[in-house]
């Protein structure tokens, strides 16, 4: 599935005054292709998270369009977009995003379209080194374990598109490598993978590299 985003503009109006408008993303064009890992580097506040929120159908931009093949995402209603996201998109948020009253396995299965693909959940749990924590509540896990669980949840439905926001933020070197290799493998399996990070080690796993600064996106000079 190819994502084609054109002329994306996101801005916020401070204190409701039009002349206090702050631009977050400024006329961004980006094409995400299947089978490739696209990495977007940028400092905090550069607009990376906002951009993948727009691409994942979580934030409607003031201007621009996001096309998944021939589907113009923001021309659809919320029910359609949500269902589309559930079936096709795996999203790994930057912060803690698990339900604290559910176990690791329940959190992963909650995102599962048919709700009971236990084998797939356990496969991911094992792959991400969480087997011993399967029945733990998210409140009993470390930051790194929470992140790995969020990754497993994003991958449970075998999505054709994966967005990962700082997926290795809380991980040690070994786990960082496991996660990047897992995402790399997803791309090899045909998914379009987008990683936004400031972890330069992601470069080693990237097919296409962008840099974002002040809401402006540009292809990196150090393109692979």
């Amino acid at each position: 599935m190819t994502i084609d985003a054109k002329n994306i503009l996101v801005s916020y109006t401070k204190n409701g005054k039009k002349d206090n408008t702050i631009s977050i993303i400024n006329s961004v064009d980006i094409t995400i292709v299947p089978g490739k890992v696209t990495v977007i580097f940028g400092r905090s506040g550069s607009g990376k998270t906002t951009l993948i929120s727009v691409l994942a159908g979580l934030l409607k931009p003031q201007e621009g369009s996001v096309l998944y093949d021939d589907i113009d995402l923001y021309q659809q209603n919320d029910d359609f977009i949500s269902d589309f996201r559930s079936k096709n998109i795996g999203f790994i948020p930057q912060g803690q995003s698990l339900l604290s009253n559910l176990t690791i396995k329940e959190n992963i299965l909650l995102a599962n379209n048919n709700g009971n693909d236990s084998d797939r959940a356990e496969e991911l749990i094992e792959l991400l080194g969480l087997s011993e924590r399967e029945e733990y509540l998210s409140s009993q896990l470390s930051g790194g374990e929470l992140r790995r669980c969020a990754i497993a949840r994003a991958l449970i439905n075998q999505p054709s598109v994966v967005f990962a926001d700082e997926p290795t933020g809380d991980l040690d070197d070994d786990n960082t490598q496991i996660v990047f290799e897992l995402l790399r493998q997803k791309a090899k399996d045909g998914a379009a993978v987008v990683i936004v990070t400031h972890d330069e080690s992601a470069y080693n796993y990237a097919d296409i590299v962008y840099r974002m600064d002040g809401g402006v996106l540009a292809l990196s000079d150090t393109q692979k």
Binding site: T49, T50, S53, V54, A56, L58, L59, D78, D79, I81, S82, D83, F84, R85, S86, K87, I89, F91, P93, Q94, G95, Q96, S97, L98, L99, S100, N101, L102, K105, E106, L109, L110, A111, N112, G115, N116, R153, D165
Partner: protein, 398 residues
């Protein structure tokens, strides 16, 4: 695990939150259901008493205590007796406008097998009575013989058993339905039997009458006025022409009780409204605050593809389930309390207190249940609106 199971899972997992919300709903339910049942029981008691009085005018001895004694007997079941000369019956009969007239005889038992306390004995005239027999007939259709009695609902004896009064055995031939009044602790028999009992008491050395013969006295006279005649005028006539007796309008005698009941009912209604207003505000505020604290959870659900509509349904489902649990608990607790302690409540109040029947109680249960669940739903709607309005992208950035 799937989204449909999440509301129940959340309710079970977040125990403190759930208990807090249910507690508010239980208070709401208890105030509405308990208040309604209480007010209805008071009204039922007064209606029952008015129905039982069944006369326009009651004539009592002039003695200052007699009216109070009769009220105490009717309202609290405090046994008492007083007598006046029987000759008054002829005078009262001859008054123009008097339709029916019947005497009653009061006596207090020295002790009775059935009871740890003294019981009120009420004798009526089988031939002329029009106030007691209509409702005695609900439990016994025959003509009472001299050794037969009918007992009030609160006496711990059964039909077919015997009861000893002043050393004489009496057969219980009927037991009355509960009235919620002092009449529930009384024993009913014929006037002649009461006279016999007075004599039996005298034989045992218990002085009931000072000089008169039991055949020459009565306790009270009940008068039914013909249509078209003014009751108050007849009351005045009796009081002016008979210095030994005091006539009171039956309805007037109950006015102070009715007034007290009205004040109590208004006060309870007021408190129920106040409790509802406060509890509703607290409930809505609690849901509102809790929803605010759950923004991250809602954002996480949006990320995995839960639509705004489904998110709203999820929050609403939780509110409705909590509403149902709270109202059911509240109804059970209140019902158990009100029905277990109804006698104690009635005694403490010194007012007629008669719990409503199954149909009325069911009606109150339904109204309470619907009202409380509706309030829970409204609170849930406010929360659901907050939940669906959540700015997922902003929360993910935070």
């Amino acid at each position: 695990m799937n989204i449909a199971k999440l509301p129940l899972k959340n309710i079970i997992s977040y125990k403190k939150r759930t208990i807090g919300l249910i507690l508010i709903l239980v208070i709401l339910t208890m105030s509405l259901f308990g208040g309604s049942i209480f007010i209805k029981s008071l009204n039922n008691g007064l209606d029952s008493l008015n129905e039982r009085l069944g006369a326009d005018i009651i004539v009592l001895p002039k003695d200052a205590e007699s009216e109070v004694d009769l009220q105490n007997l009717l309202l609290q079941g405090t046994p008492g007796y007083f007598y006046m000369d029987k000759s008054i019956l002829n005078d009262l009969e001859s008054i123009e406008g008097v339709d029916r007239i019947s005497a009653q005889y009061f006596l207090v038992s020295a002790n009775a097998d059935c009871c740890s306390v003294k019981v009120q004995i009420i004798g009526f005239d089988e031939e002329t009575d029009f106030t007691i027999k209509p409702w005695l007939n609900e439990s016994y259709q025959g003509v009472l013989k001299d050794d037969e009695i009918i007992v009030g609902s609160m006496l711990s004896t059964k039909v077919g058993h015997t009861l000893k009064l002043y050393g004489k055995e009496f057969l219980v031939v009927g037991k009355l339905e509960k009235t919620g009044t002092g009449l529930d602790t009384a024993v009913y028999t014929t006037g002649d039997t009461v006279k016999t009992l007075i004599e039996a008491a005298e034989d045992k050395g218990i002085s009931i009458l000072s000089k008169q013969s039991p055949d020459d006295v009565i306790s009270s006279v009940y008068i039914d006025v013909k249509d078209g005649y003014d009751i108050d005028t007849i009351v005045s006539d009796i009081n002016l022409n008979n210095s030994e007796v005091k006539a009171v309008r039956a309805r007037t005698m109950m006015t102070s009780t009715s007034d007290r009941l009205g004040i109590i009912s208004s006060a309870i209604s007021f408190f129920v409204k106040i409790i509802w207003a406060f509890a509703a505000i607290i409930l809505i505020a609690a849901f509102y605050i809790i929803t605010g604290e759950r923004k991250k959870e809602f954002a996480a659900l949006r990320v995995i593809g839960v639509s705004r509509k489904k998110l709203g349904v999820l929050v609403m489902s939780e509110a409705i389930i909590i509403g149902i649990i709270g109202s059911v608990f509240g109804i059970i607790i209140t019902g158990a309390f009100m029905y277990s302690f109804s006698v104690l409540i009635g005694t403490r109040l010194d007012l007629p207190y008669l719990l409503p029947g199954v149909v009325t109680t069911t009606y109150y249960i339904l109204v309470t249940f619907i009202s409380v669940v509706l309030l829970g739903t409204i609170s849930g709607l406010i929360s659901a609106y907050r939940a669906v309005s959540v700015d997922t992208a902003r929360i993910l950035r935070e």
